[in-house]
């Protein structure tokens, strides 16, 4: 009820004035009505109030949202504008709704020309160079099936613009959907010409690298093939998967039951257990390989006697990641090295013995002369002086050999190269050694052809030294018959041969022939009276090589004799070779 009326009514009621019943009812009714209306009005006012507040709030919210949306739109616009990728939005009928600047640039179309057009009117899509029909184009597929489509450099997609420009394309399309309906699509695309070029480069590099890798592998295989050392690779079942020639040679040569023409009785596919049969009891090859495989640690077995040889076995695991996938075995023939080691020891033994002998003779004879001077006849004294003299010469020769060797090895020998006739030196040497030959009832002759040989460029003294070595050896090792010296021209060299009818050289001895510590093979103590250090041939070899030639064993037959030959360059050739004079010798 209205407040004024209410107050009135209260006053009236309060004063107790008698209010007629009808008035009271009427007032009550009015009051009620007013009260109701008031309430309603208050409600309305209140709800109006609320509504206005609500409206303001909603309005504010709407404004905020608009602001956000505007910001989003602006951001999207910026992104679209600055995107390198072309972006086109189409509706479900393939009509272009919007096209960003990048797309415009790529297609050579402005926004006005594009918006509203059908997508297929903007450009053609090429697959493998051929135009795709409308329904095969990515946009269509996406609109039809609502699935995104991504095509990359691999798919060989291209585009042809209205102006005829063509370029390769990477494109992805995505559908725009409401809850159920497809309402359009977004197409993002870019020009991948650069990427294609880069991919081409990468592909070429891959091919090149693969080639390189293939070459390296071939080289590795070749070097493994050509290794002196035997190389065997076996898988985890210890089956041979790779084996080089050296292994076949080393191990094959020791197979006693090997038929002559079958080289690959040891071969790929063989089991290690089979190879073990060659090695026999001296090394449990199979068991050791297994152990290496399991423990993943390498093992070395040295100086295993296998037939006539001494071999070292080096077994290594082949580990990939953490697993053993096989073993690699190196087989090293150390027989010669052992021989050489032994002969080194023997050399020093022989050398010390050889030096001591003439020293004993000199010391002893001089001591005797001093003590017994009055008691010895003149002839005896002369004999002793002879012995002293020859011993000292022997000693000097030996020491010269050692010094020569030392200097040769250090490259300090200087050759006095001059054109010379070999024939003259041969004559000299024969004269000097004639008496030795005669003393042993041997002949020593040379062919007359030697005098007619063309001149060589060499150091005369060294040539003489080499000849004395070869002829001296020949005489030493010959019991019956004699020594013949011949010569001939061989290409650009003169070759001199020294042939004897002596004992010949055993196979084993041949191996060490021109090596430093020669006199090995037979028992040390039974060496023959060669009165030498065994250095002669080695020195001769270094000398001939230093003069541009070589020395070698031509042939030998045990019991029949041997022929050695050395060569020297003809004057004509030698003068053409710039580095010949003063050549350093490396052993």
């Amino acid at each position: 009820m209205h407040k004024v009326l209410e107050r009135q009514l209260e006053r009236m009621l309060a004063t107790g004035h008698s209010v007629p019943v009808e008035w009271r009812e009427f007032l009550t009714a009015i009051s009620d009505t007013y009260t109701h209306n008031d309430e309603d009005r208050i409600l309305s006012e209140r709800s109006l109030d609320l509504s206005s507040k609500e409206m303001v709030r909603i309005n504010q919210k709407i404004q905020e949202e608009e602001e956000n949306l505007r910001r989003e739109r602006d951001r999207a616009r910026t992104i679209l504008a600055s995107m390198n990728e072309g972006l086109i939005v189409v509706d479900q009928n393939r009509q272009v709704l919007s096209i960003n600047p990048a797309a415009q640039q790529l297609l050579g179309m402005s926004s006005q020309n594009s918006v509203g057009q059908r997508a297929e009117e903007l450009c053609s899509i090429l697959a493998n160079g051929r135009r795709l029909s409308a329904d095969k184009r990515p946009i269509d597929q996406t609109l039809k099936y609502g699935r995104p489509i991504i095509l990359t450099i691999q798919d060989d997609i291209g585009i042809e613009t209205r102006s005829g420009k063509k370029f390769p394309l990477a494109v992805s399309t995505a559908p725009l959907k409401t809850s159920q309906k497809i309402i359009g699509a977004v197409v993002a695309f870019r020009d991948i010409s650069q990427e294609k070029v880069a991919a081409g480069i990468v592909e070429r590099q891959v091919i090149e690298r693969t080639e390189e890798a293939k070459q390296r592998r071939a080289q590795l295989q070749a070097s493994i093939k050509n290794l002196d050392i035997g190389f065997i690779m076996a898988d985890q079942n210890l089956s041979v998967i790779m084996i080089n020639e050296a292994s076949v040679n080393i191990l094959g040569s020791q197979m006693t039951d090997r038929p002559k023409n079958v080289n690959h009785k040891i071969a790929v596919g063989m089991k290690i257990a089979d190879i073990e049969k060659v090695v026999k009891d001296n090394l449990k090859l199979f068991a050791e390989c297994r152990r290496v495989l399991i423990n993943q640690r390498k093992a070395v077995f040295r100086n295993i006697p296998v037939g006539n040889l001494y071999l070292n076995f080096y077994i290594s695991p082949v580990i990939v990641g953490k697993k053993s996938i096989g073993v690699a075995i190196l087989v090293e023939d150390t027989t010669e090295a052992r021989l050489l080691e032994r002969s080194k020891d023997e050399f020093f033994s022989i050398a010390s013995h050889e030096l001591r002998t003439p020293l004993s003779a000199i010391r002893g004879n001089t001591a005797i002369i001093k003590k017994f001077y009055g008691q010895i006849s003149r002839s005896e004294i002369m004999e002793m002086l002879d012995d002293i003299h020859s011993s000292s010469i022997r000693l000097i020769e030996m020491v010269s050999d050692f010094l020569d060797l030392s200097r040769l090895q250090q490259g300090k020998i200087k050759f006095n190269f001059k054109p010379m006739a070999v024939g003259l030196v041969v004559t000299e040497v024969v004269k000097e050694l004639e008496s030795t030959a005669q003393a042993n009832k041997l002949y020593l002759k040379f062919s007359s052809a030697i005098d007619r040989l063309p001149a060589v460029l060499a150091d005369r003294d060294r040539v003489k030294q080499i000849l004395i070595n070869l002829v001296g050896n020949a005489l030493k090792f010959t019991d019956r018959g004699g020594v013949t010296i011949t010569g001939r021209t061989e290409g650009k060299f003169v070759s001199i041969s020294v042939a004897d009818t002596g004992r010949g050289i055993s196979h084993e001895s041949q191996r060490l022939l021109f090596k430093k510590f020669q006199q090995a093979g037979e028992s040390l103590l039974t060496r023959d009276t060669s009165r030498g250090t065994g250095l002669g041939l080695y020195i001769s070899k270094l000398l001939t090589m230093g003069m541009g030639g070589n020395v070698s064993l031509i042939k030998t037959e045990p019991g029949q004799g041997s022929t050695f030959a050395f060569s020297l360059p003809l004057v004509k050739l030698a003068l053409k070779t710039p580095n010949l004079t003063g050549k350093k010798i490396t052993s």
Binding site: H353, T357, S360, A361, F372, L525, T526, D528
Partner: protein, 125 residues
């Protein structure tokens, strides 16, 4: 005055020892290798044998072995006179019963004679 066999392949050396033994009133004969030496030993009785090690055909140690293997020769004292210094060889020779092992270059020939006479004396006693 002993009868001595020198088994030595180097004539310069063997002559020298023969000479010095002669000058010391002994008789010395020379065998130029092991084979000849063994022959001579079988034919003649020597008071002492001077034996070289490094020789052709049969080396000194083998000769020593053979000497000691036969009754008739086993008791003849053997003095090894060599320029071989190998410990192995020395041990082997002494183990086989050589009386002495001498390095040629270590001694004047007269010293060798003294040692030979020493061995002869100890054999007698």
């Amino acid at each position: 005055m002993a009868k001595i066999l020198i088994i030595e392949d180097d004539p310069v050396i063997s002559r020298m020892y023969q000479r010095v033994l002669k000058l010391s009133s002994h008789v010395a004969e020379i065998a130029e290798d092991g084979e000849v030496g063994l022959e001579m030993v079988r034919a003649v009785t020597y008071d002492l044998i001077v034996l070289d090690i490094m020789m052709p055909k049969v080396n000194g140690l083998d000769v020593l072995k053979q000497l000691k293997a036969h009754q008739e020769t086993a008791l003849v004292p053997v003095v090894i006179l060599t320029n071989s210094v190998s410990d192995k060889v020395i041990k082997a020779a002494m183990a086989m019963g050589a009386a002495r092992y001498l390095l040629k270059s270590d001694h004047d020939p007269m010293e060798v004679v003294e040692i030979v006479e020493d061995v002869l004396r100890s054999k007698k006693s």
